[in-house]
Point group: C2
Chain length 86, copies 2
Amino acid sequence: MEVNYPVIVDVTLREGIADPEGATIERALPALGFNGVTHVRAGKSFRMNIDATDESSALAMASALAERLLSNPVIENATARSATKG
Amino acid sequence: MEVNYPVIVDVTLREGIADPEGATIERALPALGFNGVTHVRAGKSFRMNIDATDESSALAMASALAERLLSNPVIENATARSATKG
């Protein structure tokens, strides 16, 4: 029987890949009164519901579609996690 | 003493706000062989390190800067969480 699993895919830039969006945010923060914030990195996240027989196959499908459609594996890491925990 | 806390801010569209990026992904998936994926919603995430005296003040600062700079509170929700747990 297939159950509907809520899954979140996080897409982040790989270490060492330039992140101009994160750098711009980091430079803007002190002017807004936020000090002591460093290493800002921007990423994307995708929430979805996946029909699968168990949670591990839902996560495996999410990882596969993240590699195929949601991320550029050359510069980005994609990780799938359950949206029910945490 | 200030410690460096890794924090993640998740920015998601509010319920009911149209998400053309998520809808486009959802329509593209069956053609790539991924069936049974519904309710795709696209969002953003920001990882950063925050100097603070304790974790709760780091998270409070992250929530404040997320409201002020990282999100549009009219159409988006922003939540801050520790990057060390989970």
